[in-house]
Amino acid sequence: MDMARIAEPEKVKAKVSKSFVKPWLGVKYLFKRPVTIKIPFEKIEPAPKYRGFHTLNWKKCVGCNFCGQICPARAIEMTWLELNGKAEKRPHPKVDYGRCTFCQFCVDVCPTGALGFTESYMLTTGGSEEDFELYDWVPIEPDKVREINERFGDWRFPVVKVEKLGEGRIRYHLRDGSTFEFRILGYGIRPPAALRKPKSAPAKTSKAGGSGSGTKDENAGKREEKTQG
């Protein structure tokens, strides 16, 4: 206790004094500029590097599932995708914003820097099941998101509508009118049955999958049936 410098009661009490008059001095604030930010007429920019929605550089992503392993909410699901009729060689993360906590640990651990984030943070939807599809997000290229952000400047989610075309095909209607179409082939670390050739599972991928990858395999197959059905 010798270290502690103690402020004795007298000193603490001396700081304040009971008063009727002093509260009236607050009246001076009537003549000061209000602190209110008049949204929607004014707006505040989020801080640079504010942790918002994800982006993914599809070329860089190696499908190592580090992001899926570190995610505290298990919001990241490795997904096998088909873009322009050509299946991607590695699975890519799909983020579920019904779970994501925006901690961006996934971005921190990404070994190739493929997964990134933008400052966009606003996603307002209705309460129907169709609206909730928006929260299931296969991240698109960072350049596209940045372009949309610069054009609109209101930090909204780049997608306005998700259209399901059947057979796992999904079309994103982006805010600038363009569309982005891809197909979900299956889930998991291992490739789904449609993609699997003999000896196609590379040793490196299965190693990154950790302990659960063995059972994941069957799971992915099951999932694929579901997607196609």
Partner: protein
């Protein structure tokens, strides 16, 4: 140099505190872990007696009662954590009880705050504190209380599936195998 001296002095003073406690309670084993941390392990039946000794030797506050469920050993380890304002020292008082028939006497007459901690330990681990009148559902609803959810043999994911159904996940209904 001076720093080191001060630490040594503190260590010696702590040793004295531990020795004084053990002198009054010879059944206990005590040691200094590091600066401002001491540790005692006692047999479960001496709990009330020992806490009284601790309170009289300057450990005024019971900070919390931690329960660790050692499933393989079949034991609950209880850590009564105390803080001494006089010595500026944190003490862990460790004891073990059998997992299948966990009961202990209450210490709420020595430290009234123990009432809350015991209710919590009872609720989450199912340890009976004899003499505490308020054991029962406290934070949890009765349905979860029955399960004592912090026990190691309670699997929260299978419980979630039981309560909310297999489709508790909105987007992937077949997500059955989770790796974290």
């Amino acid at each position: 140099m001076e720093e080191g001296n001060r630490e040594e002095v503190a260590e010696v003073a702590l040793n004295d505190v531990v020795d004084a406690v053990i002198e009054r309670a010879p059944y206990a084993q005590g040691k200094v872990i590091r600066e401002r941390r001491v540790e005692f392990s006692i047999p479960a039946e001496k709990l009330r007696d020992f806490l009284r000794v601790m309170k009289e030797s300057g450990f005024e506050m019971l900070m919390q009662i931690t329960v660790v469920d050692w499933l393989k050993e079949g034991k609950f380890e209880l850590v009564y954590q105390m803080w001494s304002v006089t010595h500026s020292t944190h003490a862990f008082v460790r004891l073990e009880v059998q997992r299948d028939d966990a009961r202990l006497p209450t210490v709420m007459d020595i430290f009234p705050v123990a009432e809350t901690y015991e209710r919590e330990a009872h609720e989450f681990f199912g340890i009976d504190f004899e003499g505490n009148p308020r054991l029962g559902p406290f934070i949890l609803e009765p349905r979860e209380y029955e399960k004592h959810p912090f026990r190691k043999d309670f699997s929260t994911l299978s419980y979630v599936k039981e309560i909310y159904g297999e489709d508790f996940d909105r987007y992937d209904e077949s997500k059955t195998n989770y790796v974290i």
